[in-house]
């Protein structure tokens, strides 16, 4: 049964795309900010993990845990120093600033790490697989998908079960009234971007272990992330996972029919969903 295998691989690939997209979805959901540098920040995270691995020689998963607080701090500072200044009624300034940031990040990575493609080695894990009878699945794709589900569950828990999540939602609803509750919207935004960067670090780990990367591949990751967010419906985290899975399945099915169609099939699936459900699969009840 070749098709079951193709679809299963597609679903697991979708986990990677959902990881790319979760941070984007989080930030957009809270502050209506589209971060065009998101893909480049993922690549930056991958280089940071690679740096930790090559300097200390520790396991990449541990290295990612080391990178997380650093990335949180970078996200927090980025929001405080740069993005908070451009957020406002006009959506163009943040787009321009993050577009510029994308170029800056790419060139800094190019200067620091050259254009050679790199990879985060994960040892025997890279080729390990489990035989489920009908299909054989790679341990790495399974871990990726499991991490995506865990990340989205964790983000949902933060959103709906903690005081911080209440503050996120309240600030997203109405920043002025939120400030009357003693919430500093700018501070909440900084924490949100920091949290998004922690998710970015997890995405970066799997990006770097799965395939080669170089400083220029960020924008393509951004496109997949974007499509996953839009398919799922803006601001819905489970929708983002569904969006990632749809793109992943479309890509593997497309590739099974004709290897040239892999990337194209993902984009076509995105356009079809947009045609049928312009607001995505799980849109929020209000905006």
């Amino acid at each position: 049964m070749n098709w079951i295998d193709t679809i299963a691989q597609g679903v697991l690939l979708g986990g990677l795309y959902a990881l790319f997209a979760a941070g984007l979805s989080l930030v957009f959901g809270i502050m209506r900010l589209v971060n065009l540098a998101h893909g480049d920040l993922i690549v930056m995270g991958a280089y940071l993990i690679l740096l930790v691995v090559s300097v200390t020689g520790i396991n990449p998963f541990l290295a990612a845990a080391v990178a997380m607080p650093v990335m949180f701090g970078l996200g927090w500072a980025l929001q405080r120093v740069v993005l908070n200044r451009v957020l406002g009624a006009d959506i163009l300034p943040p787009l321009l600033v993050t577009f510029g940031l994308s170029i800056v990040v790419q060139n800094v990575l190019l200067e620091g790490f050259t254009a050679d493609s790199q990879r985060i080695g994960a040892g025997p894990l890279e080729t390990a697989s489990v035989d489920l009878g009908v299909v054989t699945l790679g341990v790495m794709p399974l871990l990726t998908f499991g991490s995506a589900v865990a990340v989205i569950m964790a983000l949902n828990w933060v959103f709906y079960r903690t005081p911080l999540g209440r503050a996120f939602r309240a600030t997203s609803d109405d920043p002025v009234t939120a400030s009357l509750m003693g919430i500093k919207p700018q501070g909440i935004f900084a924490v949100a971007t920091g949290l998004a960067m922690v998710v970015v670090t997890i995405a970066a780990l799997y990006l770097g272990m799965r395939a080669n990367f170089d400083p220029t591949i960020g924008p393509a990751r951004l496109i997949y992330a974007f499509e996953a967010v839009i398919i799922g419906g803006l601001g819905s985290l489970w929708g983002t996972l569904a969006g990632g899975v749809i793109i992943g399945v479309a890509q593997t099915v497309g590739a099974a029919i004709n290897p040239e169609w892999q990337i194209l099939a993902g984009h076509v699936a995105f356009l079809v969903v947009l045609l049928l459900r312009p607001r995505g699969l799980f849109p929020r009840a209000f905006d």
Binding site: P163, A167, D173, L180, K184
Partner: protein
């Protein structure tokens, strides 16, 4: 003693000046009502005190401290909570979450917590899991008041809490005020219903076109004087 005072308070929205030197004082434990027609500057005054609009620091004094230039979240932390005009519940939050978030920026020890707010407005306990915006107008107003109380404020600012509500609902809501005052809050009310304002206030300020045109204890003010202060003197 005077808890909250504005001195020569001016406020503007861009080129439009909304307040022209407003002087107002709230004594500890008292209730002040601010009345006036639409556009008189009542809401602007409340937004200036709450810090949504920033002013020169010494134009607003709270407990001997200049707070005019502070942002809203810091003013709330000092103990001034506002029930904003139009209630402004958070649509993404349930009734209970709306109440809980009222204590986000200030965890002061005091009478008010979830239990006591539910005791004050029992209907909210029944609707605690509903989205805030699914409630009737009067219930939403109760949530907005409860949300402000959750921080155990020293000053409670209420902006047009009777707006758009049926008289019987307004009566229910005002019935809560003796308890709110007993728990230690001094109150500034903006009210279009003059009768209601005169009933609950220790002192009334009447505003017109960004200025205070009349002030005094309700018993000392004649209907005629209020009429003139409200609408301007007939030529």
């Amino acid at each position: 003693m005077t808890l909250l005072r504005t001195m020569g308070l001016t406020a503007r929205y861009g080129d439009f000046q909304a307040l022209f030197g407003v002087d107002m004082a709230l004594e500890t434990g008292q209730t002040v009502a601010i009345i006036g027609a639409n556009g008189a500057g009542k809401t602007t005054l409340m937004r200036s005190i709450a810090g949504v609009l920033r002013n020169a620091g010494d134009q607003v004094m709270f407990d001997g401290r200049a707070i005019g230039a502070l942002p809203a979240d810091e003013i709330m932390g000092l103990g001034i909570a506002m029930v904003p005009e139009g209630r402004k519940l958070f649509p993404s939050l349930s009734v209970e979450e709306n109440l809980l978030i009222g204590a986000y920026g200030r965890r002061a020890v005091g009478h008010w917590r979830l239990e006591t707010v539910y005791a004050l407005f029992p209907i909210l306990r029944e609707r605690r899991m509903s989205p805030g915006t699914a409630l009737s107008g009067g219930q939403q107003q109760m949530v907005a008041i409860g949300r402000a109380l959750m921080s155990n404020p020293r000053v409670l600012l209420c902006d047009e809490i009777s707006l758009g509500l049926a008289p019987v609902v307004i009566r229910d809501i005002y019935a809560a005020f003796p308890q709110i005052k007993a728990a230690g809050a001094s109150v500034v009310l903006v009210e279009q219903d003059i009768g209601q304002a005169m009933k609950v206030a220790d002192r009334v300020y009447c505003m017109m076109e960004g200025r205070v045109t009349l002030s005094g204890a309700p018993g000392d003010l004649s209907r005629e004087a209020i009429h003139d202060a409200y609408f301007g003197k007939a030529a």
